[in-house]
């Protein structure tokens, strides 16, 4: 089935067309090597930065901003979000301290991106 990918390497935003054959993906429409590399990565293992917030139990109306220590497989983002929303923490929280270690066994940590006194 043909697929469409918008390249995000540069502002040109080339429209890439992908078709799948027996020997692999055929990518058309790219105008540079980086575009081809981006399309290959998107087709094989798309990953995304994930950031959100986590509830701080012992402070009124307080949430600490968090991010994952590495990019997360696009298909797992909803599950990681659920794990984050199930968790709450107590202040004080140090900058970049680990709030969830090895989330869902992915080898990725969830870290605070701000210190809470």
């Amino acid at each position: 089935m043909p697929k469409h990918i918008t390249c995000i390497v540069c502002p040109m935003g080339c429209s890439l067309h992908v078709s799948e054959t027996e020997t692999g993906y055929v990518i058309k429409g790219y105008q540079c090597k980086e575009g081809l590399m981006y399309a290959n990565q998107e087709l094989t293992a798309p990953k995304r930065d994930l950031s959100s917030i986590m509830k701080v139990r012992n402070r009124i109306n307080t949430y600490v901003p968090i991010r994952t220590s590495e990019t997360v497989d696009k298909s797992l983002i909803e599950q990681v979000m659920q794990a984050i929303n199930r968790t709450s923490v107590d202040a004080p929280i140090d900058y970049h301290s680990t709030l969830i270690q090895n989330v869902l066994g992915l080898g990725i940590d969830v870290k605070a991106t701000k210190a809470i006194k």
Binding site: T6, C7, I8, P11, M12, G13, R48, D49, S51, S52, I53, K55, N61, Y63, P65, I66, R67, K74, I77, M81, N85, Y95, T113, K114, A115
Partner: protein, 412 residues
């Protein structure tokens, strides 16, 4: 009355950069911030994508704020948090208010780094009943990211600026149903990275060339009517009703420069931008403006760079003095604005920041002084959503005005 050499109003990315640069010199600096912490809007922008050029790292907003704030530790700067400046008076005195009461502060130079404000429903002529459920995207972002409060369940977004796109993803990740993004122009006004990662990743539709024509509901918003538009004219028979309880507006930012009202400061007539010279100096020589308070930036990295330049200029003004800037600069065909609006005659390379007025490919730009061509540049693509910079050198001895214009381009 307490007096300082340099007073900075606003402790966001711009104000922090000004303070950091100025602290390299033996002057008394005071930084006034209205909220309880430094970093400004960075604190609510919890997503990554900041600092790629300034720190060579992909940071979130709070991380960027943390890094900049750390650089300021142990510097000789008087910090006044939870303090609001109410008036800047003509005689180099300002009034402020904080928990110890109302007071005044004298200064020799002042840098305004008060950021920007969001355009609201009245700025886009969105009429209708005064029902709840209509927010600016940045306000909804503050509720979500500071207080964990999601403002709605079924969300429609107007305007495809970066804040709108980021909020589409954010609301979706927190479990809201995001029904679409409505954009008046035939192109998105956000970065293509955000269109892909915030909309396409979640199959959120982008309605290009569409506007909101009405909002309906009794106490809370219940539906929004959108309609296709072509060159400013609504197309009959294209109305579409979208049932939703929340409308987020991401329809642009305006420089926040209200504090300069009443002072003898020239504003650029068309854009509400303060008129400044290459030293970020206004027509009142002791007042400087930079960051989003001057013009809206896409990247905080550019704000930090600009803040450092303004900090250096304000310090030079205090310790030495700045040269006259008799050479004016103007936008020409295809350009929506240029910054700064005046240059000195010295032979240093000059830089213009600018935006084009519409998306264009294969562009040739000319910087002219009078009729003399100073520089010609070629660009594969230029978009209104991208601030660009261009360096050039002046013609020796000439006092004629500078113009930046698009000479040839292909429409997209």
């Amino acid at each position: 009355m307490k007096t300082v050499d340099l007073c900075i109003i606003g402790g966001g990315a711009a104000g922090l950069a000004v303070a950091l640069k100025a602290s390299e010199h033996p002057i008394r600096i005071c930084l006034i911030e209205a909220s309880h912490s430094l970093g400004g809007i960075l604190n609510q922008c919890i997503h990554a994508g900041f600092g790629l050029s300034h720190f060579s790292q992909n940071l979130t907003g709070p991380e960027y704020a943390h890094r900049v704030t750390m650089l300021l530790q142990d510097k000789h700067i008087t910090l006044m948090l939870n303090t609001t400046v109410t008036t800047i008076h003509e005689n180099q005195i300002l009034s402020y208010i904080n928990e110890s009461g109302a007071n005044v502060l004298g200064f020799k130079a002042l840098v305004l780094t008060t950021g920007s404000k969001e355009r609201n429903r009245f700025d886009i002529n969105l009429m209708g009943p005064r029902i709840s459920g209509i927010y600016t995207a940045g306000l909804a972002q503050a509720y979500m990211n500071y207080y964990g409060h999601r403002v709605g369940n079924k969300v429609l977004i107007v305007g495809s600026g970066d804040i709108g796109l980021i909020m589409a993803r954010r609301m979706r990740l927190e479990g809201a149903d995001v029904l679409g993004v409505v954009e008046m122009n035939p192109y998105s006004s956000g970065l293509s990275r955000n269109v892909v990662q915030c909309l396409e990743d979640f199959d959120i539709p982008l309605y290009l060339s569409h506007v909101v024509v009405s909002c309906k509901g009794t106490s809370r918003l219940s539906k929004v009517v959108i309609q296709a538009i072509n060159k400013g004219i609504l197309i009959d028979g294209t109305q579409k009703e979208i049932a939703c309880d929340t409308l987020l507006l991401s329809v642009g930012l305006l420089p926040e420069n209200r504090l300069l009202k009443g002072l003898d400061i020239v504003k650029h007539s068309s854009s509400n931008q303060v008129n400044i010279n290459e030293f970020f100096q206004t027509s009142l020589p002791y007042v400087f403006v930079c960051g989003n308070a001057l013009h809206i930036h896409d990247l905080v990295d550019d704000v930090s760079k600009e803040g450092a330049l303004a900090g250096l200029a304000a310090t030079t003004y205090l310790l030495d003095n700045l040269p006259n800037t008799p050479i004016t600069s103007h936008k020409g065909e295809g350009i929506s604005y240029v910054i700064p609006h005046a240059f000195s005659m010295d032979q240093n390379p000059k830089t213009l920041a600018f935006r084009v007025s519409k998306p264009m490919k294969h562009v040739v730009l000319h910087v002219k002084q009078g009729h003399t061509l100073l520089k010609e540049t070629r660009h594969k693509i230029l978009l209104p959503s991208m601030m660009e910079h261009l360096s050039f050198e002046l013609e020796k001895g000439s006092l004629e005005a500078i113009t930046l214009e698009v000479v040839t381009c292909q429409n997209i």
